[in-house]
Symmetry: C2
Subunit: 430 residues, 2 copies
């Protein structure tokens, strides 16, 4: 993947040392911004390691008077038993994106209290219980009545305000250049989303033997390969907005009245549709997983309807909010649609429809690609993995895969999210 | 346009002083790389100022044993009587692009002998007589039998070898970030190509009163405005290759057996189609100008046919060479079309056709936009301006404008360059 991992001595020379619970406490005591987040009460701290140890250390730190989450990036990622060197600089981009998106959408992004670039360490707001990872809530069958509204707001604000619809080309290019530095994470996405699932790769796996033929058919589908090449180009070449870059349902923490987006370490200037697609695609995965979670107590039928309604509302509210921001800020620094050119409401409205249709098709393409890679690629989703019986899991995954393939190839035929949902529903019922 | 121009004192503090003939000679004598280009014979130099004084000083320097061109960027551009501050840093991007494109295509790009960033000064190979600017040759009705072959080679090599078809994403993003710095020149293009012609702007002019209605109809053509918005987005957002950025027929010097591309100060990572379109669009302008240059001695009919043939061959040879490079380098650092995925010749061939069709439509779009702005925007072309009788010039310009509007709006319907040429021809004959 990349250059070999630095040795411990090299890391130390760079000012980096991985913290454990004891050294973390010393670090906090020596760091005013972190001490302040704990109300200055740093004598008796409670520390809990909650990271999965695959990419980062994540500690929850509590005092009598406050709390903080401390996240430290490690110089590698562990994935499926392999260890890949991976730049710690991703912490810089994560902190930068949290700060920028947090400024634009403070209700749905945790505040950054402290960032230490040499240590690859971020101190940020602790998102307290009863917040849980959305994916776990979707598996448990919990409805989040405000999820669509909140995510539409988050996506509309972060994507609009970092696009050329709002910013001058000068500001835009400056930020694009900055985030070009996060290329190692972009390359990881390129590999695991746009390449590996479509070729023989030791990293791929699937529910075998049930999906052997399905995985093979992905690798032999020329139509799919033509579409994925186009999406891969857009992903790398098109600097449209500062995107989160990994906006699946594992990057979102929720309660019934709060939605918080975390972990933007893949952030860069890329296509807006990649974020929207990630969110919608992962909801569709959750939908297809429900049959595997159904039992006599709960057939999950109502819950499946709620997921579909959430998908529908997420796109429709996003679209409405995004166009609303566009109309509100049509006179400003943005140079993409100058008022002197798009000088009548009908023309602007047609231009907006064209823009949103193109964004819709991008979102469907990227969303489908994200679904496919979760079934036949390296990293799967707990939605399916938690269905223990493989003979029960496989048909759920197959429906999701078939759905994704059809949407990816036929995305330009869909004119509304309702049509997409009708398609999703049609696959379930056969 | 930008920040106010620096004062003379500020410029001096930056290490910049505009050279005149006397100080240029002193500078050359003190600069080994320039002295060497003159064979070390720097005692009796012949210096000729050949720049138009609008953007840069350009000096030809000759000794008994050698020659060099010295180009110095000024901190402003003069255009139509107005003076705009314009970063001297464009000299850095021009030198960088000359070096990079020169490495990739040495036959058609002058060597850089010396670059002085503080002085915004480039010393490069003197492109000797009988080389003339291609545009002047096109006005004079001179045929260049190798032009299509040479330009196809130049475009194929510079665009292919700086794209993701050849380079790793890591190298690509590094260079994209570097050229984001040339944003002031990008903004100038945005304004003069993608904005001003479609709105009321004091910078616009046209052959009045003949084309008053035509200019107005551009400003009121909603279909055109929808298309130009899309092209503008692609221009700013899509970092496909290191493009020249200003590849019109005034940036090319020719003899019957040599073709040299100069002046890439607008270079940045942008859409390939912008370069291809600039070249083809300016040839179409030259075609429509021929009726204004016809006289009893020469009806220019044969010459018009030669221009059309050159357009046809330029695209077809470009396509052939570009796909040839792709096939030759399909196993390499490029990650866009991995051999393990595009693993049979038929699939790769279909993928290439899809890629080239999309590039063709981009080129037609950008080429048309470049034509339109030369008729109703700020900077016109000598092809038309040299037709002194306005009543004779206006119908030529109108045909070019009508042709460009139709191609811009209908570009996706064209399947081959032959169809485009049939369309160009149909407009001439009505």
């Amino acid at each position: 993947m990349a250059a070999p991992a630095a040795t411990a001595a090299e890391l130390e020379a760079q000012g980096f040392r991985p913290l454990d619970e004891a050294s973390l406490v010393a670090y906090i005591r020596a760091t005013p911004a972190l001490a302040a987040s704990l109300g200055g009460r740093v004598d008796a701290l409670e520390v809990k390691e909650v990271g999965d140890g695959n990419l980062n250390f994540v500690y929850i730190v509590l005092s009598e008077a406050g709390s903080v989450v401390v996240k430290q990036a490690l110089p590698y990622i562990r994935c499926e038993g392999d260890s890949w060197p991976m730049t710690r600089e991703r912490a810089y981009f994560e902190a930068s994106a949290l700060q920028e998106h947090g400024r634009l959408c403070p209700d749905h992004v945790p505040e950054v209290y402290h960032f230490d670039r040499a240590m690859s360490l971020i101190g940020m707001r602790y998102i307290k219980p009863p917040h849980i990872i959305l994916r776990k809530g979707l598996i448990a069958g919990v409805q989040y009545p405000l999820l669509a509204e909140h995510m539409a707001e988050y996506m509309a604000r972060t994507l609009f305000f970092t696009s050329l619809l709002y910013n001058s080309t000068t500001d835009h290019k400056k930020r694009v250049a900055q985030y070009c530095g996060n290329v190692e994470l972009c390359r990881l996405t390129e590999q695991v989303v746009f390449s590996d699932p479509y070729m023989v790769s030791k990293f791929n796996h699937w529910t075998s033997p049930f999906l052997d033929k399905d995985a093979e058919s992905v690798r032999e589908d020329d139509g799919l390969k033509l579409e994925i090449a186009e999406l891969k180009s857009i992903f790398i070449e098109r600097a449209q907005s500062l995107i989160h870059g990994d906006l699946h349902t594992g990057s979102i923490m929720v309660t019934t009245d709060s939605t918080q987006v975390i972990d933007p370490e893949f952030a860069f200037y890329g296509p807006m549709g990649y974020d929207i697609g990630a969110f919608l695609g992962n909801l569709i995965l959750a939908y297809f997983a429900q049959d595997g979670h159904a039992d006599q107590a709960n057939d999950r039928k109502d819950y499946k309807e709620w997921i579909l309604k959430t998908i529908e509302e997420s796109w429709n509210l996003f679209q409405q909010k995004f166009v609303g921001l566009w109309n509100k800020h049509k006179v400003g620094n943005g140079e993409a649609y100058l008022p002197a050119i798009y000088n009548n409401p009908e023309l602007l409205s047609v231009a907006q429809k064209k823009y949103m249709t193109s964004l819709f098709h991008d979102s469907l393409g990227f969303g489908s690609a994200k679904m496919i890679r979760r079934i036949v690629g390296i990293a799967h989703v707990e939605d399916f993995d938690s269905i223990e019986d493989a003979s029960k899991r496989a048909p759920c995954e197959r429906r999701a895969l078939d759905c994704a393939k059809a949407i990816l190839k036929g995305r330009r035929q869909f004119e509304s999210i309702e049509q997409v949902i009708a398609h999703v529903r049609s696959i379930t019922h056969d």
